[in-house]
Amino acid sequence: MAERSFKKEVEQLRIGDGQVFRGEGILAITKALLENGVGYVGGYQGAPISHLMDVLADAEDILSELGVRFEASASEATAAASLAASVHYPIRGAVTFKSTVGTNVASDALANLASGGVTGGALVIIGEDYGEGSSIMQERVHAFAMKSQIWLLDPRPNLPSITAAVRHGFELSEASNTPVMMEVRIRCCHVHGSFEAKDNQRPPLTVAEALSNPKRDTGRIVLPPASYVHEKEKYSKRLPAALDYIRKNKLNEFFGPREAAVGIVVQGGMYNGLIRALQRVGLADIYGNSQLPIYVLNVTYPLVEDELLGFCEGKQSILMVEEGQPDFLEQNLRAILHKDNSTLPVSGKDVFPMAGEYTGQVMLEGVQKWLAKAAPHMLPDANRAPNQPAADTDMPDLSKTVPPRPPGFCTGCPERPIFAAMKLVEEELGPHQISGDIGCHLFSIMPPFEIGGTTMGYGLGPASNSAFHGGGEKRPISILGDGGFWHNGLNSSITNAVFNKSDGVTIIVDNYYSAATGGQDVLSSRADNKSKSTKHPIAAAVEGVGVNWVRQIDRTYDVGDMRDTLREALTTEEEGPKVIIASSECMLNRQRRERPQKAAMVKEGRRVERPKFGVDEDVCTGDHACMRLSGCPSLTLKKLDDPLRDDPVAYIDQSCVGCGNCGEVADAAVLCPSFYQADLVHNPGWFEARMAGLRRAVIGWLQRRRAAGRLQFQPAEGSGA
């Protein structure tokens, strides 16, 4: 059901020793898991590791052949907790979710996992979502690694490095009895490259086999007094073991000359960006051969103090290339140098910005600034000038021309009419306190809807309105997606509202699966899924926990119904939480599925209706009220070649999928009669065609009759009527 299918690509997971694997980073990670005898995998979708979940789901056959258990976890907490299988059993397990929202949710389990420690290698693959295109870009996973004392890998972003990191991750975890996180950034997840593959390994002990021979060890359970012991063990046993492993296996890498006046310490993930900057100032060649010593931290926690001090020895300046804030690594480095009584100057956030992505330009400028201070003789002449060359100052200013283009609802999105209806209700009842959740529905914050005040977390939309739950003239409105509902919303939001006798209104947006993250199935999915249990209605769950006022809307495009239901929820005398479940399938995925099916049906000669909406350009007055309740990409404008008209008129382009939102809105908001729906019937039946012919004949006669009595105007002389 996922938005993107990896059925073809996952076949590569079967290749063996010596063969070359080509593909995306996430697929390579999956291959590496299999090569390293993983026993179970799980996770929760979310950029940038959504596709990793999709790959695992599409690879289920291959996984089960190897005896590997795959879980599409209910949440990141579930995923992290599932690593408990590696506590007593020597089974390698890997889970994946996005940072830092996922890490936040998983924290409870991660803390306990890290406390008791693990026997089998436990790997958390974290999609670090920082920078451009990121939906949740604040915070760093580094903090979580430090607080729970989980080792953090940050491999260089190329396929050989990240696949090696998977292997080292398991081994490091086992060597130090500590779970390990591997951080991959968004572009690394989607980077296309190649590496030399190995044979897949069946886990030495499968989860099924383990279940037959249960084990327990009180000493590993997080309960006093054992947990006091864990806390000491972390420092006295596990950390030294980890440092030994990192040193011995050279997880961190040295590049460039050993001896030099200055050197650079860099997070593995930042390596390519740094090399590009050095290439541009002429200090590295295209293979990354650098004229400056570079110490690459493929492990960013813990730092190996003696390695670091060795690298710093004899140098007059060190640059720390560390993206994001706070500057944990720089602080750590300074502390290490301070303890060593070193006065070596450290650069980092003085030449780089504290917050934000280290883009190509940022990296170039940072390196130049540092070199200008620390080693000006190494900079080429052109770079030594204090200011940037003014090559592009004559760039015309387009900032007022180019409109912003934030993400929004897709063409035909079933969520659009929900927010159109909400706008209409607000026109009647005034503005309301509205809280959003996580998911596509958050696009309602953008124009044209501009709805919603806060977003506190996944499944927490109604919870974040809980202070407003009772009393007052108006009711608070919260929005929750189906993904968020099953993730955390049922418990944290709905049961909380029931228990606290909330008076608020919750709209649950149900698009048949987790649409925002790419169409993964959830409990309420309508599709059959051979390895998952679906078709559990949200309404049943909501009623089951005690909500009495529940309305199920099965066609969100009915804006009038949507509006009336919402109005009723906001005004009814009924006490307790009011829940509206607005269900219609995600149009993006629906079209992907139906378009080829319909095309095939047309070819086969079966009757198919293809709807599309249109606007009568001479009826439209160019007010654009419909646009302000839509924002649909296919509802756009066209200019008229008419000297009497000033404003462009509405126009529906070929991408229209005929969802009906614009017509429904024009009707519900009483906007204008310009909209019409045209259904093109392919392969009509004989009788139907005959009747249509008759109707056309009658209508044509009436049209000709009227036309005969008046003047007809045409754009060009003599062009047809």
Binding site: G133, R187, T401, D623, R628
Partner: protein, 518 residues
Amino acid sequence: MSHQLDDIVKLAVLAVGGQGGGVLNSWIVDLAESNGWAVQATSVAGVAQRTGATIYYIEMLPNAPDPQAPQPVFALAPAEQDVDILLAAEWMEAGRAMMRRFVTADRTVLIASSHRALAVLEKTAPADAIADDRAVLEAAEKMSARLVAFDMEEIAQQAGSVISASLFGALAGSGALPFPASSYEETIRKSGRGVEASLAAFQAARERAEKGGVDLPQPVKTAASAPRFADGPKRLLTRWQALEARITDMPAAVQKLAHAGLVKLVDYQDLDYGAAYLDQLAGLHDLDKAAGGADREWLFTQQAAKYLANALCYDDIIRVADLKSRAPRWQRIEEEMSARPENLLQVTEYVHPGAAEFISLMPAGLGRAIEKRPALVRFIDRRVNKGRRVRSDQIGGFLMFWMLGGLRGWRRKLLRHAVETAHIEGWLEAARSALAKDYDLAVAILRARRLIKGYSDTHTRGLGKFDKVMSGAGLLAGRKDAAEWTERLIRTALADPKGEELDGALQTVRSFATDGQA
């Protein structure tokens, strides 16, 4: 073999989410790999991509080193002033690429589709807020080493494909990469899906790109040009020609607008209505003469010709029904749907008349009498005011529109006509009385008419804005900056759907025009 940094070819694709940028990305990767190049491609997938601006980035190196030899280190994201080939899948995205400094005059080949996919903010303004495509063109010509620009969306649609295929074709035709066209085609064939359509779009775009030159950006689809030429029964044509001849009495600067106005009126109502328009316009023109309009290129008459025609063709139910029941409309829908003879077309109209519109269809006296009885109006509203879906391809539905359109002959006796006529007269009187003292203010008053548009609530809101602007113009009359401020009020009203900013502007006008008295 050893390589220099300059050997790396850096290619970025700026697209709008949903344009198939991912497919293009993988085609380019396959193309380069099959030619023995080393390639690295990255993208940012996820929610941020949905219909928003998105970016794909590829770095390539000719003669890939042996797998055992050191591999090139590629960057994962484009850097400012460091891109060789930039593909923009939409015209404003080309602008965005330049704003982000991915286009540099000494090296970047800019390949951009000149079509527009309007951003939400361009569409939601009540007037015309479409971005200036020429500004992007000027910048593109200046900032790129070479510019390849034409409508790749159109080419893709013609071929039944998507823009990724025509962008790939434009890349091939631009010659920016040293691969033969056959290699590109092979890449498309290998990818498997929709091959024929993709190849057709690819080829058309490649040929167009090879021809060189830049097609001017097509801002947005332009509708067919306005009707100008009359056809019909002879007796009507003779009278029409007589009316057309009267246009030539007008100054040249006015003729085009007056002619368009005349066409609109006769099409809307009849020849008499057109004749009355010309009479009225002639009267206004005389006043313009007296006010020295000859020195102003008859601006007052020009604006009168335009806005009087629009005002007289008010949008009532009769008009809508008439337009929806005409034969050419059916043909237009068939074209838009690309209907073939073997297809059937069903057309459902979305209409929602209100009580006010219904009452306005009554004879003036009766309508006024009903309007005075709120209970009766509410009763009618309950009966009339609901959304209707009418199948205008079926006899019953069509007849309804046809008969309503047939009320045209009665129009001048109906309530709406009386209301509109009185409103127009008030407006013209305001313009006339301003004309002698302040020519520009009179012109601005005529232009305020632009604010009245739409149906139902939208129409009422438009009227409200019009009244506010007119009240402002009234306060301003006699001041030197009256016209300037009135025009400003109009602009404010046009940019602001809710009318809050207009209220603010009006408040300002009040504060200085009345010295704080009002």
